[in-house]
Amino acid sequence: MNNAEQIKETIARIFPDVETVICYQQGFDGLHATPYFISIPEQVNKLIWNPLCAQNLTSYLPSIKKKVGIVVKGCDSRTIIQYLQEGLIDRAKVVIIGVPCTGVISVKKVLREIGHQPVVDVVFDDNGNIVVKTQKGEKRLAIADVCPDKCTTCQYPTPLVYDHLIGEPIASNKPKEDVYKDIREFDAKTLEEKRAYWEKEFERCIRCYACRNACPMCICQDSCIAETREPHWISQRLSLQEKFMFHMIHAAHLAGRCVECGECERVCPMDIPVAKLKKKINAEMKELFNYETGVNPDDKPPMYTFNVDEAKIKEHKL
C-alpha cells in the first residue's frame, strides 16, 4: 500500500474524533496541489499525496478552534513544535498524521524548466523523477533538481512530532554543517553588493503581503504595522524604502521563530528570495544562542526570554 492509501486509511480512522482534516487535493492543473479540508470521511477519495504537496498546511492551525487532523511532512512538523513553544495551539486539539518526505517540488523551478508552458499531464516515475507533459513535448526532471532550496539541506525528513506515522522513518543524509552554507556564502559579499542585491530584489515587491499571510509564524495577523496608521511606521507609497522597511520588520519579527518552511518564498508572485533574510537571522540565532527553531517543544524562543548575562553578547556584560 502506498503512502496516499495509508493516509486515507488513517484519516478514515480518526473521524469522528476530529471535525476536519487538512490535507491536499489536486489544484487547478496537474502541477499544483491545493489544501483540502475534509469534513466527512467520504471526501477522502480526492486526497492526493505526492511531491507537489509542498505547502505547509500547519499555517491554518492557530485559527481553527475545533479539533482537527492534519497531514505534515518533516519540515512542517517544526512549525507545530514552534507553535507549542509559543503556546499558539492546543496539542490536544490536533491529530498529526506524519509522513516522512524525500523532498517536494518547487513549481517555480519546474515552470522554468518547461518554459512556463501550460501542463497537459504530470506523472511521477519510480526513480525520483517528475515527468511533465506540455503541448511542446515531455520533460523528465529529477525531483532533486527541482526541489525547493530547503530540501537540499533537509535535516528532518521525518516529522519530529506526530500521532500517526505513515510508512517508515527516514534519516537525513544531508550534512548538518551545510544548512547555512548559502548564508555564509552570501555573507562573504561586500556591504555594497548585498545592498545592491536586495534593492534589485525588493524593487519588484508589490506589497501583496502573500509572504506575510502565508507565514505560519506571522501572528500579528490583522494588526500588522504594514497597514496600520497607529503606529504609522510604513507609508503606502510604493518606494523601495517602504518595501525594505516592511521586509526587514517581517524578518526581525521572526528572529528565533522562523521555522524555515519557505512558505514566504514559495508564495511570492514576484519571485523575491524573501526566505533568505529570515534564514540569515536564524543563522545568527544559532550562533548566538545555539538555538534551532521548531525542534524541541520544551525550548523557549531566545527572544521570549531574557538573561542578564548572555554568553555570546558582549554588550550585555556590564
Binding site: Q25, Q26, G27, F28, D29, L31, H32, A33, T34, P35, Y36, F37, S39, I40, E42, Q43, K46, Q55, S59, Y60, K108, L111, R112, G115, H116, P118, V119, Q135, R204, I206, R207, C208, Y209, A210, R212, N213, A214, Q221, D222, E227, T228, R229, S235, Q236, R237, L238, E263, R266, V267, P269, M270, D271
Partner: protein, 370 residues
C-alpha cells in the same frame, strides 16, 4: 496606405526605438524568471512568448501616486496662524504599452467606465489613459488557468486596444483598432500586412478554440443568488484563502484603492495607493466595527463585485477578463473560475442545499472528475 501592417521580427527593436522617440514605451521584459512591464531600453530582454506576471495596469493606474502636495505656511497677516497650500500636478508623458495581452487591454475598459465615464471623472487616470497607446499582442495559445472566452473576451479580442498584433513565424501582423492606433502604420519599419492578414486570422481562430471555457459555452455565467448568499458555501470554497493581496494586485480589473496622507515636517502628500478588498483593514472603521470582518465575506465581495455588482451597474459587463493570474499565482490555488462555476450551476445549488439540510459539507472539487 493599407489597413494592415506587418512588422518583421528582426525589426522589432527598431520599431520600439521609433515608438520611444516621443513616448515612454513599456514592454514585457524578462527579470530573472518573471516577466514585467518595464520602460524598454536596449539592455532589457523583451519577452513576448508568455503573458507578463503582472498586467500593465500600473502604467495607467500606478500602484501609488500623489494626488496633491500640501504645505503649511505661516499666514502673512497673523504669524500665530498657519495657512495651507495645495498643489496638484497631473503632468503625464506620452506612453505606449507594447505587448499587452487582449485580457490586459480589456481590463482598461473595465476601468474606463468607473474612472472616466462618470459624472466625476478621475483626472489622474483619464490623463494617463488618454496619453497611452495600447499595442496588444494576441495570444497564440492559452496560459495556465486562463479563460478569457468565458467572460466575453478572447485571445484576439480587440476591446481596449489601439492596435492588435498577431504573431506569425517571421513577424507580426498589425491591425489598427482605433484612430490613435492607425498612426502606427505610418512608422517606417512597418510593411504592408495585407498578404498576411488571412494567416493572422487563422492563428486567432485556432487560439480561440484552444482556450478553456469553464462555464457553459456561448453564454456569460449567471450567478445563483441563493447560493451566493449562503455563508456555508463561502466557508467551504475559500477556507484555504490566506487573505493576501496577490489576486487583486495581479488582476487587470481590480481597482480598489486607499487614500492616505504621508507627511514630512510641515508638508506632505496625499497619496492614492492600490488597496485590496481581501485585507481586514480595507473596511475596518475607526470605531472598530468591520462590515466585512471575515475572509469569507471579503472573498464573496470580490467575486460579487466582478460577477454581480459591476454587471448590475454596467449593462451586464463582467469585471473579470479571465487572464488567469489570480489562479496561477494564488499561494494556495484558489480558483475563481471553479467558484463561479459552482455559483452558476443550478444543479450545484441543489447539491449544496441538500448537503446543508443533511448537516454535511459538500465536496469541493466534485465537478472536476464527474
Amino acid at each position: 496606405m493599407s489597413d494592415t501592417g506587418y512588422l518583421p521580427k528582426e525589426k522589432i527593436k527598431d520599431f520600439l526605438k521609433e515608438l520611444a522617440k516621443d513616448a515612454v514605451v513599456y514592454a514585457p521584459c524578462l527579470e530573472g524568471d518573471i516577466v514585467l512591464f518595464r520602460p524598454f531600453s536596449e539592455e532589457r530582454t523583451l519577452c513576448l512568448d508568455r503573458p507578463a506576471n503582472t498586467p500593465p495596469k500600473s502604467v495607467i493606474y500606478p500602484q501609488s501616486e500623489t494626488l496633491f502636495a500640501f504645505q503649511y505656511k505661516k499666514a502673512p497677516e497673523d504669524h500665530q496662524k498657519m495657512s495651507v497650500e495645495l498643489k496638484a500636478d497631473i503632468g503625464v508623458p506620452n506612453m505606449v504599452i507594447f505587448g499587452a495581452r487582449p485580457c490586459d487591454a480589456k481590463g482598461f475598459r473595465i476601468y474606463d467606465r468607473v474612472f472616466i465615464e462618470t459624472n466625476t471623472p478621475d483626472p489622474y487616470y483619464r490623463k494617463r489613459r488618454e496619453n497611452t497607446l495600447i499595442v496588444t499582442l494576441s495570444c497564440a495559445a492559452p496560459s495556465p488557468g486562463c479563460f478569457c472566452v468565458a467572460v466575453g473576451g478572447g485571445p484576439a479580442h480587440k476591446e481596449g486596444s489601439d492596435v492588435m498584433m498577431t504573431e506569425l513565424e517571421g513577424g507580426y501582423v498589425i491591425e489598427p483598432v482605433t484612430e490613435k492606433g492607425r498612426a502606427i502604420l505610418g512608422k517606417h519599419v512597418i510593411e504592408d500586412g495585407k498578404p498576411y492578414l488571412k494567416d493572422a486570422q487563422h492563428v486567432q481562430a485556432k487560439a480561440h478554440d484552444e482556450v478553456r471555457n469553464p462555464f457553459a459555452p456561448d453564454e456569460l455565467p449567471k450567478i445563483s443568488q441563493s447560493l451566493f448568499n449562503f455563508d456555508g458555501f463561502w466557508e467551504q470554497v475559500v477556507g484555504k484563502c490566506v487573505s493576501c493581496g496577490a489576486c487583486t494586485y495581479l488582476c487587470p480589473t481590480c481597482y480598489c484603492f486607499n487614500i492616505t496622507d504621508e507627511q514630512g515636517i510641515g508638508s506632505g502628500e496625499r497619496v492614492r495607493s492600490w488597496d485590496a478588498c481581501m485585507f481586514f483593514h480595507f473596511t475596518l472603521e475607526a470605531s472598530g466595527h468591520n462590515p466585512r470582518p471575515t475572509k469569507f465575506q471579503r472573498f464573496k465581495n470580490r467575486v460579487g463585485h466582478k460577477f454581480i455588482y459591476y454587471p448590475e451597474k454596467y449593462e451586464g459587463v463582467i469585471a473579470c477578463c479571465g487572464c488567469g493570474r489570480c489562479i496561477r499565482y494564488c499561494p494556495v490555488n484558489v480558483d475563481i473560475s471553479e467558484i463561479v462555476n459552482y455559483l452558476k450551476d443550478t444543479h450545484q445549488e441543489l447539491h449544496w442545499a441538500s448537503s446543508r439540510k443533511e448537516g454535511t459539507q459538500p465536496t469541493v472539487g466534485s465537478t472536476k472528475d464527474e
